[in-house]
């Protein structure tokens, strides 16, 4: 069957700008997000729902911290490390923050090289991102171990309000889980990139769909989100 000659497709129309563009996009035929693939939209919507999950955790932390009559432990002292005989406040958390930011930087560049079809650099940068992420999780394991040996439990701690432990383990634990899942997927995606799956349009093992380099960007969206959540945890839990 011959392709019908379409002289005037939707793309050729000039679209309004600003609020009128939003109204036109949302009320238009077939799809609301005109130039965004379904994969990217679904990742954004997943991240939006994940935002609500982390919002609920941080909100419940705010609620217990505001309503307790017992003083809240001072995070600046709880998370201090003694290096060279000097106690430096929050130093481990600061290093973890810099590591996660660096991993976001390498991920952003991996996405860029992916679209330039530079397989080697994309895979290398993704593996670097995964290595930063694994380092972060390792430091978090160290932090948990330190706090647990000092007597922090979800139901109590030596310094003050009992809710400190439950908030801490819940929020950082959930974030650490996200980082771990991200590291695993980064390694899987880096292998696919390295093997040239997206150049040969090789079909995926699970969905048997052909992938392209946009998958790297979608993976990047997830990874940047993990960094984004850490920005809020760092400010609201550790610094507040």
């Amino acid at each position: 069957m011959a392709e019908p000659a379409l002289t005037n497709t939707g793309e050729a129309l000039t679209r309004p700008a600003g609020w009128q563009q939003i109204a036109a996009d949302w009320s238009s035929d077939q799809r609301a997000f005109k130039n965004v693939s379904w994969g990217k939209v679904m990742m954004w919507i997943f991240l939006l729902s994940d935002t609500f999950i982390f919002s609920c955790f941080l909100l419940s932390y705010m609620t217990v911290r505001m309503s307790t009559t017992v003083p809240w432990p001072n995070p600046s002292e709880v998370f201090a490390l003694t290096i060279g005989g000097k106690s430096i406040p929050l130093i481990l958390i600061a290093i973890m923050t810099f590591i996660l930011i660096s991993s976001s930087g390498t991920m952003a560049m991996a996405v860029n090289f992916g679209y330039r079809r530079d397989r080697a650099r994309t895979a290398a940068l993704m593996l670097a991102t995964a290595a930063f992420g694994a380092t972060f999780v390792g430091m978090q394991a160290f932090e948990w171990t330190k706090l647990i040996t000092e007597g922090v439990r979800p139901w109590g701690n030596p310094w003050g309000a009992v809710q400190f432990g439950s908030s801490f383990f819940m929020i950082t634990g959930f974030h650490g889980t996200h980082v771990t899942i991200g590291v695993i997927f980064l390694i899987i995606m880096a292998r696919k990139v390295w093997r040239g799956d997206f150049d040969q349009e090789r079909r995926g093992f699970f969905t048997s769909r052909k992938g392209n380099y946009e998958v790297v960007e979608i993976m990047g969206l997830y990874w940047h989100f993990v960094d984004l959540v850490w920005v809020f945890i760092f400010a609201l839990f550790y610094l507040w």
Partner: protein, 111 residues
């Protein structure tokens, strides 16, 4: 800010842009760490912490996640709902204030 045609071959921006944003994120993180290091307290501390937090989050979402180059329909669909969480924050502030007062009144730890 950006060409409208970047979407044809995916998001394509100069590497320098990412390095600059990376540098700014380092600077902002250092600033928020210094707030704690120099032991600033009171409203100034909260203001600075929230300021650096919002700036960092904005840079990550806008540049690293490429939101600045997406169409407005996607931008508003994703960015407006989290702002509504602030309503929830307001509700819980009232609720926890009430719980706090109740605890002080009935558990005898008040003045």
């Amino acid at each position: 800010m950006a060409q409208a045609s970047v979407h044809v071959a995916g998001q394509q921006h100069p590497i320098k842009l990412y390095l600059v944003v990376w540098g700014w994120l380092f600077v902002l993180s250092t600033c928020s760490y210094l707030v704690d290091y120099f032991d600033i307290h009171g409203y100034l501390r909260w203001f600075l912490i929230l300021l650096f937090m919002v700036l960092k989050a904005g840079l990550i979402v806008a540049v690293f996640m490429h939101m600045a180059w997406e169409r407005l329909a996607l931008m508003y669909a994703i960015l407006v709902p989290p702002v509504l969480v602030l309503v929830f924050v307001g509700i819980m502030v009232f609720e926890s204030d009430y719980t706090h007062v109740t605890r002080l009144t009935f558990f005898g730890m008040g003045p």
